[in-house]
Symmetry: C2
Subunit: 510 residues, 2 copies
């Protein structure tokens, strides 16, 4: 009995391994496109990437996988399995069903439409003219609604939008997020009131020119600090330069990129920490789970919690800044000689409402996300039409952030996500912040000395805690359960809001 | 009728395209392994490469391909096809049969054994002890004999070794090569007699230290000279650094690597020209044949003819050397200030018998290859046993090159080819030289002014001629036919030997 199930289970895992191996090969091919490929190779490259995607799709929807799963999902068989095996079966079922139930024609139509939409979005954004994007966005939404309706049945979610959320944040629902984000929104707006009534710190010290070569040395310091290894015989990472920073890879080969701006040295420093946080998560997944479904991140939100933890909770802490400032001064020559730590901490942590999400600070960032979530939610609930989006966007930005959007390029068209069909993705960013707040509170309790260590350039107490509590659990739990296992409580906005209040007191005084 | 065949034909080409797209993705993954991969990624990387190989194998042996080919190979159908279509069908049949007829178990056993053999070869070579390699080599030969016997039937060759030759040099036979190489061997030995009785040029100027940064500038000059584009929006290549130089890629993305030795600047210069010659061939294949079987190089030998043409016939010509020497002097600062062109030409073209193939000059190189060919041929004809190989090797080196081999590491174990199971590969290197000689003679007749142009830094007459006469023909012909189409005559050793005689006169006087 047990041995029969084991045989079937192992067969299934072997098939899954092939998909992972092929996907990680695709990651390299993608990475190469972004970093090394000569421009003429673009067309061939897109053929390569879509073929790899297609082969993976075919592997995943193979009816044999469904039959193996059927055999394993019998109650008696499940009873013989341990927690990890059951979770692997659960995840493989989820992936197989999600991928199988969408008709090939719909998938093809969506991916074709998304390419067209991204093209139209680029043109419309350049022309600051939403009308050039409108039809494509509408088509995107219609196709996504079709898919969401199918996925809703497969997943058994209450609404189509829930099914989309579940892709990025398994188990998370519109209802839950609405409630959480409402509290978060009000909290963030209260905090921003305090900020608005205070004096703005001087951030000009962050725009002093530092040559790229010096910034590269600082990147190396930051990577060494978090233990991201890019040299020597045991290196498992590398840093390259791209227009937009990203990370990708798997276990033994996880890469990050950054972008250097001469007049904005904090950009590369914090992007290295951010992408490094992502990379450490992938690298620290349990080695014995490699090639298994559980040997992966728990969700986009949890991934984002790890990058933001390293970037913000550690990287923007006075302790880390006190460690890095002398090194920055040394690398920059005389340019930063007169900068005081206190001013540096205030400048780096300055908060200010803005129109553009990717330029937002830690506090207002959540408001950008919440606006997008509310719009997506209403769109997929039929309460909002695509034609009403620009206006609705501007109203939310005025209400939540107090900013006037001049045109749709800096408004509803600022992000690529909707053009690319990624509805349901945005909430993960803000959930990542909330998860991070909860992890921080637990870390403060478990390892109160972590701040002193960071000030001395020692990341080990933080890194060890994250590895042990988060990374080592891979995809054994849905995010909400993971949070509970790690912190002992359910999703809670308070730790993150408390953390931000502390920040504001630090920067703007009490 | 015609439309039915076209439909079937197009279906087949679409399948073939998938294999090419996947293979070229694998090329990128391989390139990354050699150039950019962090060391910890090696194990995952070998999984990725073998999976891509396996998927390609499965695609190629799919019985549906055999059935489509059956339908297309009817006489009436073939009569409706043009030359290109017929050649595509021929090549797909060849690839499909070669890949299908070998039992999976044999293929798996060979690839496993080859990995073991390469491991044993490395250890044995380090220990200078053939006995540690012997059993593995024997096993390699036995397995290859099995495969060759099967391939002989598929291909309809006269002998098993012919079937192996045909993998690398389609249509070439043991009988033909034996005859050609005998003449080549005698010719090369005659030329070397003349060299041996002359004064050795001073080659110390080639070992003056030139910093890697300066050598990189020379690489850029060499690449610009041949039109290998690595920068700008239309770039289709790039240069990186690896232990052993290589090239790979397809049409719009073809990459080369080199290795810089501070005390041997000619090494990087000529490897850039050599790999650049390979790259130009791949890049200049007819765009309309991309993803078709005919959109590929004609053979390993023809590929090698292109790399050597650029490296030797152009790169070691007095005209190119007169163009590059001033640039070398400028890049190197004072180090080469006193070097006279005449001495430089003589040093670069110096010939001298040696024990190691990859260090050999243009003249003796063929002798290294011919020795290997004769040994392989006799091995697979049952006239030579693995145990007798070391002794037989040493005797040939003594006879053909006049050198005494001290130990088997610099003798029979110097190359990785036999450990890796690549029997039948070596002859392509020397055939490449012969093809190159024939192309050179034709080029001299068609475009006699090419040398003057090269002296002025203008590669266009040579590059244009090679593109038009060789590259543009892709894989439309087997190599022997290609040679005939290009030069108007059959394979002939005289042009290459004449070329070498001219070299010797130039270097050693008449």
């Amino acid at each position: 009995m047990a041995s029969t199930f084991l045989k079937e289970y192992d067969k299934l895992l072997a098939r899954y391994k092939e998909m992972i191996v092929l996907r990680t090969a695709g990651d390299i091919v993608y990475w190469d496109m972004e970093t090394k490929m000569p421009p003429s190779g673009l067309e061939l490259r897109s053929e390569q990437l879509s073929l790899i995607g297609l082969i993976n799709h075919k592997m995943l929807v193979d009816p044999k996988i469904g039959r193996s799963l059927d055999a394993l999902e019998k109650e008696r068989v499940l009873a013989d399995m341990n927690e990890e095996q059951r979770r692997n079966v659960h995840l493989m079922r989820k992936y197989h069903d999600e991928e199988s139930k969408l008709p090939d024609q719909l998938v093809a139509e969506m991916s074709k439409q998304q390419i067209l939409s991204v093209g139209a979005w680029k043109r419309a954004k350049a022309a600051k003219d939403f009308s050039q994007f409108r039809d494509h966005l509408l088509k995107n939404v219609e196709l996504k609604e079709k898919a969401a309706n199918i996925l809703m049945e497969v997943k058994g979610t209450r609404t189509p939008y829930d099914a989309l959320l579940d892709i990025y944040e398994p188990g998370m629902t519109t209802e839950r997020i609405s409630k959480v984000f409402k509290g978060m929104r009000d909290g963030l707006m209260r905090i921003m009131k305090k900020v608005d009534s205070s004096d703005r710190p001087d951030t000009s010290i962050l725009n002093r020119k530092i040559p790229v070569s010096a910034q590269r040395r600082i990147s190396a310091v930051a990577m060494r600090f978090i233990g991201y290894e890019t040299s020597g015989p045991k290196a498992w990472g590398r840093l390259d330069e791209t227009e937009h920073p990203f990370s990708n890879g798997y276990y033994t080969d996880v890469r990050i990129t950054t972008h250097y701006h001469e007049d904005n040295y904090k950009s590369s420093l914090f992007s290295v920490l951010h992408e490094g946080g992502h990379a450490l998560y992938e690298h620290n997944l349990p080695a014995e789970w490699m090639f298994q479904p559980i040997g992966s991140a728990a969700s986009y939100g949890v991934h984002e919690s790890q990058s933001r933890f390293v970037e913000n909770m550690v990287g923007r802490s006075p302790e880390f800044l006190s460690f890095i400032l002398p090194k920055l001064k040394k690398a920059a020559g005389k340019v930063l000689a007169d900068v005081e730590l206190e001013d540096f901490v205030r400048a780096v942590n300055m908060a200010e409402p803005s129109k553009i999400r990717i330029e937002a600070d830690e506090i207002t960032y959540g408001l950008h996300i919440i606006a997008r979530f509310e719009l997506e939610r209403d769109l997929f609930a039929g309460r909002l039409r695509v034609d009403e989006l620009p206006q609705a966007w501007n109203e939310k930005y005025s209400r939540y952030l107090g900013v006037d959007v001049d045109n749709d390029s800096e408004g509803v068209m600022q992000d690529t996500h909707w053009a690319g069909g990624s509805f349901g993705y945005f909430p993960s960013y803000a959930l990542g912040n909330l998860y991070g707040g909860m992890f921080l509170r637990k870390l403060d309790r478990d390892v109160p000395e972590w701040r002193d260590a960071v000030a001395e350039g020692n990341y080990a107490p933080v890194g060890g805690w994250l590895a042990e509590n988060v990374h080592s659990r891979g995809n054994l739990y849905d995010p909400a359960d993971l949070i509970k296992v790690v912190t002992g409580e359910g999703l809670n906005i308070k730790p993150f809001l408390d953390y931000l209040k502390m920040k504001v007191e630090m920067v703007y005084g009490s």
